[in-house]
């Protein structure tokens, strides 16, 4: 990039046609004024703070003498055309970064638009690595928007979900791989701080090297590595809970099936050898107050009441203490709750809750 912009009052209205997003670029003479599409109260990013947070454009170059104006104007048009080309080449990636940061298409588009305006007006001759410059501006703007968006999302009525994005043409949405793109992941990313999220997204989805990420988020490299590692752990923790829950649900499903059929063999196969079945029966029928120990005994005990216990009961999945559990209800009233504790060998504990006092908690949990 060797051209120097000599005339800052470049011709207005360079049309940049983009099939996915914008068509009509505002005049460069409007400077850094950010033009927002009409949007509802949900999408009012703070333009002033957004402008402050972005990478500063270098100061404008000097004006050429009057008699060179003609050739200079022509040269300016070439510069802008080249700038457009450079930007277009990375625009998908910039959108991919912004979308993964914000989980919304409209705000991500606004950021890409802002970066484009910035790119038009800055001294591009001073930029050694345009894609890096553009990614930096995008990420920093996104961090800022995210910070102001948080409170809006927390006061959202009903579940806040990301804006779904159409990936027919671009399954990885501008990235090396489709990381951080599905709803499950985007919702997990909401739990990270904006800077953590930026470091994570740049590393996992775009394979940016750590020194570059450090520069973008304005931290030293060791701190940046820690940030990514912490983000990974945080997300893995959430995933692990989800996986453990999934495993428990799987066991519960299999257990329920075998229990309802009175299938002793199937039940034994699910149990660890030293499985214990507890009940807090409180004298309610079918509740053995003494714990039952051992794979064979527990299987037989459960199979014994298979013919009548399950009839007329609806089975609903609930969460108790953050663990998947099953609530059994008769005529809409929960009469039993059931949890399993898995171990390496199989189910280690079966807990039947029949105490009415505890069951009100279950009903509340499932509501």
């Amino acid at each position: 990039m060797s051209h120097v912009i000599r005339d800052t009052d470049a011709r207005p209205g360079l049309l940049w046609s983009d099939s996915d997003h914008r068509t009509d670029m505002p005049s460069v003479q409007k400077g850094l004024a950010v033009t927002k599409r009409t949007a509802g109260p949900d999408a009012d990013a703070d333009a002033a703070s957004v402008a402050d947070a972005a990478a500063d454009p270098a100061p404008a170059a000097e004006l050429a003498p009057a008699d060179d104006r003609a050739s200079v104007a022509g040269q300016a048009a070439d510069d802008l055309a080249q700038a457009t080309e450079v930007f277009s080449a990375v625009r998908r990636r910039l959108f991919g970064i912004a979308y993964r940061m914000l989980g919304t298409v409209s705000e991500a588009e606004d950021i890409v638009q802002d970066v484009w305006l910035r790119w038009q007006t800055c001294d591009r001759s001073a930029v050694l690595d345009p894609p890096a410059f553009l990614a930096t501006a995008t990420t920093r703007l996104a961090i800022n928007v995210l910070q102001s968006a948080r409170s809006r999302r927390e006061t959202y009525i009903g579940p806040w979900l990301p804006e779904p994005v159409n990936t027919d043409d671009d399954p990885a949405l501008g990235a090396e791989r489709g990381e951080a793109l599905g709803f499950a992941m985007l919702l997990l990313l909401e739990k990270l701080t904006p800077t953590e999220r930026a470091a994570y997204v740049l590393r996992e989805a775009f394979d940016y090297p750590y020194p570059q990420i450090a520069q973008i988020v304005q931290l030293k490299e060791p701190a940046t590595r820690q940030l990514v590692s912490r983000a990974r752990k945080h997300l893995a923790g959430e995933k692990r809970i989800a996986v453990e829950s999934a495993e428990q649900r799987r066991l519960l499903t299999a257990f329920l099936q075998a229990a309802q059929q009175g299938d002793v063999t199937a039940l034994e196969a699910l149990f660890a050898s030293d499985v214990v079945s507890y009940s807090d029966g409180n004298g309610v029928k079918l509740a053995a107050r003494i714990p039952i120990l051992g794979r064979h005994r527990v299987a037989q005990f459960i199979a014994a009441f298979s013919s009548h216990f399950w009839q007329g009961k609806t089975i609903e999945w609930v969460e108790l203490n953050g663990q998947p559990a099953v609530a059994l209800a008769e005529d809409g009233v929960v009469t039993t709750a059931l949890t399993l504790t898995p171990g390496d060998e199989g189910i280690r504990q079966v807990m039947w809750m029949m105490s009415p006092a505890k069951l009100t908690r279950v009903t509340a949990a499932s509501a």
Partner: protein, 172 residues
């Protein structure tokens, strides 16, 4: 009320069709099959068919934006999720209070369900009268009987569907 079977750009598809283009090679076939089956079940309004795709611990989340609705926005478990899902699709298919012409029967705009790639995986776009009214994406998880839909996210908020209505995003 006219309802159209799941299509991909007006072509009838089966879960075995490899319509997705370059980059979609890593589409999870089980996930896709379940999403298409769910869509067909919602289109036909069949509770048993809906329930057959759902994980026992399924969660359904609906983002309606600022639109007030008597229906809940979340459901847990197969029974509640099936009921809410079918109620939602009934709402989406209805025109609201039908305005009968002076003579003849009231007409309702057609609802169609199309497969789309949503956030990198198979999803559903629901349109009514060529306007996007819902986008659905799902996550699956294993069960003893094979994978099933564990989480369903549906966005009906018009503010969040704007670009699904942009020219070129819908066929025809």
């Amino acid at each position: 009320m006219e309802r159209i079977t799941i299509t991909r750009d007006d072509q009838r598809i089966s879960p075995d069709d490899q319509w997705m283009g370059p980059g979609h090679e890593r589409v999870d076939p089980d996930h896709r099959r379940l999403v298409l089956a769910l869509g067909a079940a919602c289109e036909s309004g069949d509770p048993a068919a809906v329930a057959a795709t759902l994980h026992p611990a399924v969660t359904l989340l609906i983002d309606r934006g600022r639109h007030a609705d008597p229906l809940p926005a979340t459901a847990h478990g197969v029974a509640a999720s099936t009921v809410l899902l079918l109620a939602l699709f009934d709402d989406l298919a209805a025109a609201g209070p039908a305005t009968p012409p002076a003579t003849g029967p009231a007409t309702r705009p057609a609802m169609s369900i199309r497969e789309r790639s949503v956030n990198g995986c198979a999803g559903l776009l629901v349109t009514r009268d060529a306007r996007a009214v819902a986008v659905l994406t799902a996550a699956t998880a294993p069960t003893a009987a094979g994978p099933a839909i564990r989480t369903l996210w549906i966005v009906t908020s018009p503010a969040k569907l704007q670009h699904w209505n942009a020219p070129g995003s819908l066929p025809g």
